[in-house]
Amino acid sequence: MSTTTTSRIEYLPRSRRRTLVAIALAGYPVAVAVLVTLKHTSLNRWLILALFLLVLVPTVVTLFVGYLYARGRIDGHRARLDERDLTLRQQAYALSHRVLAAILIAATAITEIYLTSGNTLRLDANTFVPVLMWVIVYIPALPSLMLAWIETDQPADA
């Protein structure tokens, strides 16, 4: 990764960062929804897979940008984190926890409503794997995304 690209990511305006975070968060559920929908069609399996991966690309890219933006600060690997970095990191972790709690509560509520409405839920690979993938991808990525979400624009150099 070139220095120019990294520095360009570091100076991304907040509005653009927030758009990227929104894409990163919404991308995977959208891709899974596309996959589920396409599975019920007569399309070729490879074509379905290709379409799924195509829809997944923006998510992967935005997750990577989020990682690059917060790299060294969210994991504490940067040599010198000052008090603002530490405060920001704390805020990012706190917000990640709130977002995660909100998602889990919403998911539990939706499942509960679905089940109490007389429906049944089969817990097979088709249901379990997307949820597991979500946990594997988003739980480590959430703090970086939240840091990118909350940080204000960098002041112009002077």
Partner: protein, 88 residues
């Protein structure tokens, strides 16, 4: 800065310009990142008491000359303001 937090106004940019210090130079003296100086100057980040005291010590000024909860009046105005007229 979180919405619930009160903004701390400061004269850091003026003092830094007066002493011909870049953000980087000041940040190095304070052992912080240079962006943090920019965030403080812009009012986007309230420094800790420790950092505020260190800044005051560095500029050899009382802390209230640099940081305030009320918007700062220009330094020139404070220095050259007419003193209150003494009653005769």
């Amino acid at each position: 800065m979180p919405d619930h937090q009160r903004q701390v106004h400061n004269r850091l940019a003026v003092l830094r310009a007066e002493r011909r210090l870049s953000r980087k130079q000041l940040a190095d003296k304070l052992s912080i990142n240079y962006q943090t100086i920019g965030y403080i100057e812009r009012g986007d980040y309230n420094p800790s008491l420790e950092l505020a005291l260190t800044i005051a010590e560095l500029f050899r000024l009382p802390i209230e000359a640099i940081f305030s909860l009320k918007p700062m009046t220009p330094l020139s105005e404070e220095i050259f303001r007419d003193p209150p007229v003494e009653p005769r």
